[in-house]
Symmetry: C2
């Protein structure tokens, strides 16, 4: 019972962006920071773009940034989007389940209840709760790249859902 | 985020035994009932024996049975025993984690809290809550094999932690 690496790094990409407010971060720096491949992160950034959570600015000085304030991004919502396999046991998938006792089984309901309790905790937290205030982040080394937005900050119209950066 | 098949079938073995009180059930019938291999179930039955949950009686008319009343077997306890990978994200494994922000990260604490909420629900249920009363189980086809314990029911001294049946 573990989250997919995809989910793990989805959360880290968002946390990294939230920890560096006001500037574009590059996939290269996130990759270096977390020791994962750029290709892996490009897929994640692209998916987060489609989800309306990350915007990509192309070209020199480009990068990605959050499309919403961190306090408006619920962690439960992110997990439901990133984690596709909530088939906790075989019978959760009605299409493939061949469990003979499914109609009278109370296991599914119990595991459903437990999963709901899990998400109630996550739904009570936002991305803002996971990242330190900028001042503390700077001291911890998380936000060492903090700087003012570049003068050539793109107009919103030039932004597009993230594909690659 | 899903339970291992091992955990899924561990629960089903216990539920099957609890649904057939007073008799020894065989691995062969559980395998047939759930469409899984005998080898897979033998490993599970053996592990449940070591855990003190199942007793095996060898020989003709032998089989497995619960070593405790279903109401004394907590589902949270079973899941913690069966499911070994609670490394929800990479940083949960302190031995291999290479996350640079781990010391200041609040993600781990949030996921810990969510997992605790998940287990609080499971800890509130026992095996008895998952199986129907014998009369209903018989109607549903779950307990169709219900019969009185065989006359040659072994003495407790002949039982041993399950290995194979």
């Amino acid at each position: 019972m573990r989250l997919a690496d995809y989910t793990d790094y989805t959360l880290r990409v968002l946390m990294y962006c939230a920890s560096n407010p006001g500037r574009l971060v590059t996939i290269a720096e996130i990759a270096e920071r977390h020791g994962v491949s750029r290709n892996h992160l490009m897929k994640i950034v692209s998916d987060l773009g489609r989800q309306g959570l990350l915007a990509t600015t192309r070209g020199r000085g480009g990068g990605v940034q959050l499309m919403k304030p961190p306090q408006d991004i619920g962690i439960g919502e992110v997990l439901r989007f990133a984690e596709t396999d909530f088939r906790l046991v075989e019978c959760f998938d009605e299409g493939t389940s061949n469990c003979a006792i499914s109609p009278t089984c109370r296991l599914k309901r119990l595991l459903d209840d437990a999963l709901n309790a899990y998400f109630r905790v996550l739904d009570g937290a936002t991305l803002a709760d996971l990242v330190l205030p900028p001042s503390e982040a700077a001291r911890s080394g998380l936000g060492v790249h903090l700087r003012a937005p570049p003068a050539e900050m793109p107009e919103p119209a030039r932004r597009r859902p993230a594909a690659r950066a």
